[in-house]
Amino acid sequence: MEEFEKTLSRQQAAIEAERCLYCYDAPCQAKCPAHVPVPEFIQSIRSGNLHGARTLLQTSHPFIETCGRICPEEAFCQSVCTRSKIDAPLRIRELHRFVTDSTDPSDRMELPETTLGRVAIIGAGPAGLACARELRVRGFSCDVFEARQVGGVPSQEVSTHRYPREVDEREVHFLTSTFAAHVCTERVADLKPLAADYDAVFVATGLPFESDMNVEGTQLVGVHQARELLRKMKSGAISGAGNRVGVIGGGNVAIEVASMLREEDPTRDVTVVYRRSIKELKAFKKEIEEATALGVTYQFLAIPDKVVGSHRVEGLQVTQAHLCEEDESGRCRSEPLPGSSFTIPLDTVVVAIGQRIDQGVFPGLARSDSGLISVGENMQTSMPGVYAGGDAVHGAQTVVEAVRDGKKAAEQIAAFVAGGK
């Protein structure tokens, strides 16, 4: 599958870079959870110093190839670009991507000896690997425990038209090889032995489970969980979905799986079934645009009642909804219109209504009501020396926010270990 977005040409990047105002104490940089030094790397594009730009990106952020492609710029840097007060914001993410696409990883790396201590990191997603890299740079050695695939959500669940496999492999390989994190494939369920063996532990296990839909018929053949399906497709396997697919949900996962199902078979009918309207879709704008361009269609204002069928899925019965007043999150609630139900003929139903943390592991860790791991300001959990971050603490968030957590945890862990010695 060809990538949806083309990288900027050198000329396009140079002209775009000229639009940058090089703001003092730039808002874009402050808004970036990883604090990528945006005006500085753009200045380096302008001067033709692409390796300098790459070094800046690489220093601030371990997942630069990933974020150059999938970071929702509208939520971060570009949302606060001062240039929008003159005309339009800089295309910061695309400039970032231009740098990573035009340069090889810097090999001028100097790493200290790993004399400061040993840290166990549970989960090799963006938060875990960011933490491992930061700790390695500071002089710690890390063992990363990952029962699934190294790379986490972007590697496993982001569609190839946005994030090609070879880019992912290059990035993850660079991170694990250069920063010499030892990857252990055993599944960790209890933290106590690790806490005893290592100087500190960082838990970044994400949200491994998917929310179930509480309606009749979800046991039928042809009902899938969205992320499981994404992982299957991303691994190269055939999804097994039929020709008339309904994806239930309105978040990024729903849009992602809908896109990837169209990408897998462009003749397949894929409809996103969502209880609210287009305005309330939680997915990022660019992902929605790409899904629409791929031919994904939408059934808005439809609340699923049950999956219809005897053995296999034959349809999805929904009730039409109307929008009421905004709730505290500023979004409109949807309420069913009594007596307005109808059945959408489908042979496949994909459930993408949310993700959950695994509450069956790590006994002894304090958790919030929803089961997320509780941490203090310093990212330490209720167990001394055990830190946590990423989706397992905050719920579903972006790669760059996971990176922020990993970097911050590394700093805190370094301070903790130094204080204990």
Binding site: A14, I15, E18, Y22, C23, R46, I86
Partner: protein, 413 residues
């Protein structure tokens, strides 16, 4: 459908329908190009510099180079061009042909020679062909001939005066312009020499001797012909301020007619050149960049300007700015302060940083609100902040004798 403002006037006794002339350069080096330019509406042409038949002209290509940024490639244009490869015989035929086709346009020709006989022969032949005006290149940055080889004629006061006299002796009542270089110690000396020689005016000024660049990968000069290069003559927007100073300096000191040339890219650039003393304006880089059609906006912009300002003729502009050009020591000493319009301010912080690192550390920065403010005690009103402000939200405010005056940003249109 719309009334056209009359832009015509007399220049050295020659009728000009507007002040815009195609200079002696590639746009006038072919007959059909000169014809197209005149048809498009240019008031006249100076045919590219010609020489006597015995003078070989050995051009080196590629001759053009430029410098700028990705979005503005052509701030400055460079050439290692020489004079025309067409000799005086051909040019005389063209002069006659153009005069027949365009009897109301100014048909001028530019010449360069070495010996007295050459200069005088060139002038004599052009006069015979019916030329309106003769321009003499004393300042081609490459391929200088005659008195001081390797040096431009107009870099020597004595040579300039001597050769100008030779030319004027033969030219008689045909107007003669001497095209000079800005690259001299004292431009006024040169202009005085020309006045003494009795020529009709100066063309100020020719391209500026320059090294356009060095390729940092190969460390070869630009342009590079198989690894080797030469100095260029630089033209284009980048040299306008140099030309303005050259013209102003001549006009302030010597009573001589000036044809402005060098760096004008728009009607307002032309107005600037005229305001400091040019009686008309020659163009080369603009048509080489955007074509002969640029004459439309030159005329329409100037017409609108004259209407707006209540000037009857382009001549009304000539020299209007001169009385205000003074020595720095003669200027009043205002006590101004930076005055920031926070309604216009977009909070980029460029003024704060520029003041902090390049001026007087007199702008304070509210990081929370992303807002600058001025420390009136420290600010002398230097004006650097208003140069860097991307939205022109900054002025210098002066309160003198209870009256408020603002110095505002002037730079772009």
């Amino acid at each position: 459908m719309y009334r056209e403002h009359d832009l015509s006037y007399d220049f050295l006794g020659i009728h000009l329908e507007n002040p815009f002339i195609l200079s002696a350069a590639p746009p006038t080096d072919e007959l059909d190009m000169a014809i197209d330019g005149l048809k498009a509406g240019w008031a006249g042409v100076v045919l590219k510099t010609t020489s006597v038949e015995s003078n070989p002209v050995n051009l080196k290509y590629p001759m053009m180079s430029s410098f700028g940024t990705a979005a503005h490639k052509l701030w400055g244009l460079g050439n290692i061009d020489l004079i025309s490869q067409y000799h005086i015989d051909e040019i005389c035929e063209r002069v006659a042909a153009l005069k027949r086709m365009f009897p109301t346009k100014m048909i001028a020709a530019s010449i360069m020679g070495s010996r007295k006989e050459d200069w005088q022969s060139l002038v004599w032949q052009l006069k015979k062909a019916g030329v309106d005006l003769v321009e003499c290149s004393f300042s081609c940055p490459q391929g200088s001939m005659g008195e001081a080889p390797g040096r431009m004629l107009a870099q020597s006061v004595e040579a300039t005066e001597k050769v100008a006299r030779w030319v004027k002796e033969v030219a008689g009542d045909t107007p003669v312009l001497i095209k000079i270089t800005p690259q001299v110690t004292d431009i006024v000396e040169i202009a005085r020499a020309l006045k003494r020689a009795g020529v009709d005016g100066v063309t100020a000024s020719n391209s500026v001797p320059a090294l356009i660049g060095v390729d940092v990968e190969t460390l070869e000069p630009r342009p590079s012909l198989f690894g080797e290069g030469a100095y260029s003559g630089m033209t284009g927007m980048a040299i306008k301020p140099l030309t303005l100073r050259t013209i102003a300096e001549i006009a302030r000191n010597v009573d001589i007619t000036i044809s402005g040339n060098g760096g004008a890219y728009s009607w307002s650039d032309a107005v600037e050149l005229m305001a400091v003393g040019a009686s008309n304006v020659q163009f080369c880089t603009l048509p080489m960049h955007h074509g002969f059609g640029t004459i439309r906006d030159l005329k329409s912009g100037l017409a609108d300007y004259l209407d707006r300002k209540g000037y009857a003729s382009p001549l009304d502009i000539v020299g209007k700015a001169l009385k205000s050009i003074k020595g720095q020591e003669e200027l009043v000493t205002p006590r101004s302060r930076s005055d920031i319009d926070l309604d216009k301010c977009i909070g980029c912080g460029n003024c704060f940083r520029a003041c902090s690192d390049g001026a007087h550390r007199a702008i304070l920065w509210d990081a929370e609100k992303r807002q600058p403010s001025v420390d009136a005690e420290k600010c002398p009103g230097c004006g650097q902040c208003m140069q860097v402000c991307p939205v022109n939200a900054i002025r210098m405010k002066e309160e003198l004798d209870g009256k408020v005056h603002y110095f505002e940003f002037k730079g772009t249109h």
